[in-house]
């Protein structure tokens, strides 16, 4: 067993902590920083509930050790809505299109779509591309139709008629 002093910037704020080597990033966020919006589902990299952005790139926080995030910039679901509580357009669209029910998978879904939105820029996204992006986030209640419709609503659209079916 080893312990490590680490500094991680989470949602713009720097945090210094001493952690056990085996503490994974999801537990670090939840237990050390009380950021419980990042959910833990399977804890072996299958469900995507714990998805966060590390230096802007989505990652399963249950498959990354807190010590591996030393010196890195982490974004969690807590950073997505505006400070006054106004929902991010992705969150608002998920709500509008019934893209969530129990909400357990939602933080991971939002972080995945946030990365997709940043990466695509102005490039139109097809339904197939959105479904592929969401393939790493398991939802067991609403299914994906509402999520896909929300994403199509928010992301740049292909011109009418160009949208492809998955």
């Amino acid at each position: 067993m080893s312990t490590h002093e680490i500094t991680i910037t989470v949602n713009g704020k720097e945090h210094k902590r001493t952690v056990d080597s085996r503490l994974h990033l999801a537990d670090f966020l939840r237990q050390e920083l009380s950021l419980t919006g990042t959910h833990i589902g399977c804890e072996h990299g299958v469900c995507g509930a714990c998805t966060v952005l590390v230096d802007g790139a989505s990652a399963r926080s249950c498959l990354m050790l807190a010590v591996q995030a030393d010196g890195r910039r982490v974004e969690t679901i807590e950073s997505v809505a505006a400070p006054d509580g106004a929902l991010h357009p992705i969150q608002a669209a998920l709500s509008r299109h019934h893209g969530l029910q129990c909400g357990y998978c939602t933080p991971g879904v939002v972080m995945t779509l946030l990365e997709l939105q940043r990466e695509c820029g102005d490039t139109p996204m097809t339904e197939a591309e959105i479904r592929r992006a969401l393939s790493g986030n398991l939802c067991r209640c609403t299914g994906y139709q509402g999520m896909v419709e929300a994403a199509l609503d928010v992301l740049p659209r292909a011109a009418a008629g160009e949208r492809t079916k998955a």
Partner: protein, 291 residues
Amino acid sequence: MKPSAFTYHAPRTLTEALTLVATLDNARVLAGGQSLMPMMNYRVVQPEHLIDLGRIPELAFVEDTADGLKVGAMTTQRTIERSDVVQKRCPLLIDALFHVGHQQTRNRGTIGGSICHLDPSAELPVTACALDAVLTAASNNGRRKITFADFPAGYLTTSLEPDEILVQIDFGKWPERAGSAFEEYAVRPADFAIVSIATVIALDEGDIVTDARIAAGGIAPVPTRLTNVETMLKGKRVSSALIERAATAAATLPAEGDDMNPAEYRQELAGHLTQRALTKALQRVRASADT
């Protein structure tokens, strides 16, 4: 599920990492962690020491050389799939990566990690097998090259020595007038493949097959080259009938199955996927010859 206790090491240079693997007992090397971390969370693997290669910049690179594409073992799958050099010099890798995990795992998962984990359903080892990739293993005693055919020692097991680390993968020169394709069948997209086929074919101007490589995943504990099928194709004029015969041959090769997916089912998949992959590869040769 939490991993059992271990001591974490984050070497900053390859030399430092090699000294650690040579001196520590019950140590595991951590690449992207997308397979090892789940195994540690499950406690299937309980190393006393974890040596993280993630802070060694010299192990992550994509290099276009006169001898072909060379990739550093710690290059992430995401970096490779977005690389223009890879698209130009080794497009089969891009096709294979389309099927690998999810973006959240490809952002961290590495090519070297996947090849060393050697999961029989993983796409990158099958690709390395098809391309006769040459792997460079480093230790404190120097470096040695291992051709992919000699790399697997068995299920999830490589022929790397305990004091060695995979540092580089050479994919060789891409043949002239060639097309490639990677086809697989999985129950859900991005799930583990039941069978996968990687292929490259090259034709001369008279449509005679000058080179044919076909590798399969999922029919044996390690990736398998379909050498008999390759021989059937080489030197022949390409046609849909020839592809049909190759697919029939692929479907009769020995396969190992399990309760969920018996051998006969995997053989049938191997046949269909070989046909699909060869047909797509052929279309790509024609498309590139037209431009």
